[in-house]
Amino acid sequence: MFWRMISGALFRQKGKMLMIAFTVALGASLATAMLDVMLDVGDKVNQELKTYGANINVMPKGASLLDDLYGVEEGAGVSNQYLKEEELGRIKTIFWAFNIVDFAPYLDANVDVQLHSNAGSVTAASGTSTETSVSSGGSTSSGGSANVASGTAGVELVGTWFSHHLELPTGESLDTGIKNMKSWWDVSGEWPRDDQPTSALVGSILASQKGIDVGDTLTASTQGRQQDFTVVGIFNAGGEEDEQVYVPLLAVQQLTGRAGLVSSVEVSALTTPDNELSRRAAQNPKSLSIKEWETWYCTAYVSAISYQIEEVITDSVAKPIRQVAESEGAILEKTQLLMLLITVLSLVGAALGISNLITASVMERSREIGLLKALGAHNLPISWLVLAEILITAVVGGVAGYFAGIGFAQIIGHSVFGSAIDVKPMVIPLVAVLIFVVTLAGSIPSIRLLLRLRPAEVLHGR
């Protein structure tokens, strides 16, 4: 009889029940969409933020020490220590390998440059060399052709990977380098190719000062060696890089006689915002208890990823670029907090809606409930009856709302991030519990009303 009454109420009062189911569906859809987006927004925002550069800098231990002691930011290259290029693939084998988006090695040297301009201009520049460069004695002339300019220039030549194909020890492969990491660089011309060691990308300030154009040839010399480069592109980075020349890593290694060595590596990684545990770990991982250490190690904190990089690269120090990491963390936290607030508000709204509808429904059915009491029904069976109706309706609304929410999440994903939002299975029990709690909470006023109903009042107006 209980289920006959329930089915009678559900199927013969479709209008009311559909309205309650619709309200529940609305709340469930918002909760699903917001939770899916909230759980995925970390990766999405992280990926967006990765377009603004690296967040971990890997240096040899000696160079890092100079940085710590004397504040020499570019400590790499002024010490005699280098990292081994052959070990760089190991960065993609750490515990958080999938969070490593890109990385690029650097080997820089101050070189003397002769510009062979197609326009026939004469350009020279000079400067001091670092320990890695060899000072040239003065201007030299190159009388090869009519459009050749002669001169010297003290220029920072940076060897790196542009889009380097890498075979990993795991058998996988990837293309990584500054072409992805420096996506905001405005390049006129082309990016150099790693398999063409004579191509060069010149910073816009240097290019305008020295009149360098795409197609010009530069001769870089240091330590008695020299190498010709063809300018394939001029870039504008909006920073000190605009005074540098970027060439394939192999070229600088050959020019400086440091085959297979790099002075630093920039790593772009998807990270979890720092908290108290990660800050303590960053200062001294050994201060953590075993459990804390495991939690920290198995969470994608920037300090944990740095630590794991140090484990795989010999004699290296991986330092988070704090400004970037902390900004990312702050943005991420605020975005997630915003999503959480929207989720909570949508659920509160749904609870109020459900509460109002159910209370109205109970008031409308007060005679029916009064009659059941007059026939001898106690409060508990009547409460179960009403709750069962509401919960069944809520399940129908919740299921419909869940699928609608997945749709909303995809709309948000495509309109805000330009990509789909991952549907997280954990959202299903979360939404189920939330809807159950919200429906129960929304039913409380109506149940209280129901318990207070006296049959004489509703049946006879007394």
Binding site: M5, R12, L372, A374, L375, P381, A456, R462
Partner: protein
């Protein structure tokens, strides 16, 4: 033997004295009518007899037990086990069929029995309308479903509030015939009514005025039954 005794019953709502010092005895198998103008206290008296309200003063003895001090839960149990209620507005559940409306009373009393509920509908002439919703039944038919529901648990006391108040003459006659049959079967019936013709069918009529018993009429003596 008295089934029901009201001793010095009063009911006060704020400053309004709905009932004052009512004394009444109803014997087993008796058919009693309660009459009176609007505001005379008929519904209040019915609520107290029907265990849907408690008197402010006095005691109600039903089947030998004082129920005036019972808790709300205790009154619900008495209502379920001993009283059959019939309402002027029928109060059928709109989304249940006639049969299901009868079975609801069984469900909260003991155990639903579809066969028995169908027989109860048969007795009031509605066996073939058992699967109809209240909206598909006439007023008279709805009242007969209400009567079948009141009778299904074999109550000691049938309490009817204006049972023919919403019915046309033909249906009133049908319903009164059912009441006569119930009385002949030995049921104790109390009917609250405005209608003198309906009141006259009872053995006695209690006339209420301003919350007091104005007079008690012995219909059998007056009509020579």
């Amino acid at each position: 033997m008295n089934l029901l005794e009201l001793k010095d019953i009063s009911k006060i709502y704020g400053n309004v004295k709905a009932l004052q010092d009512i004394n009444l005895e109803v014997s087993q198998g008796e058919w009693l009518s309660i009459m009176g103008p609007s505001g005379s206290g008929k519904s209040t008296m019915m609520n107290i007899i029907g265990c849907m309200d408690k008197p402010s003063n006095g005691s109600v003895i039903l089947d030998g037990a004082d129920i005036s001090k019972e808790s709300a839960r205790g009154l619900t149990d008495i209502r379920r086990d001993k009283i059959g209620l019939i309402f002027q507005q029928f109060h059928l559940i709109s989304y249940l069929t006639a049969l299901e409306n009868v079975m609801v009373a069984q469900y909260y009393h003991s155990m639903p029995d579809e066969k028995e509920a169908l027989e109860a509908l048969d007795r009031v002439g509605l066996g073939e309308r058992a699967k109809h919703l209240p909206s598909q039944l006439s007023g008279g038919e709805q009242q007969r479903v209400c009567i079948a529901r009141a009778l299904i648990n074999y109550p000691m006391l049938i309490l009817a509030d204006e049972p023919t108040g919403n019915l046309d003459e033909a249906n009133e006659s049908i319903v009164l015939d059912i009441f006569k049959q119930m009385h002949a079967d030995g049921r104790t019936i109390i009917v609250v009514t405005h209608d003198p013709e309906v009141a006259l069918q009872a053995q006695r009529t209690v006339v209420l005025e301003h919350g007091k018993v104005a007079r008690i009429i012995n219909n059998e003596q007056d009509t020579g039954r």
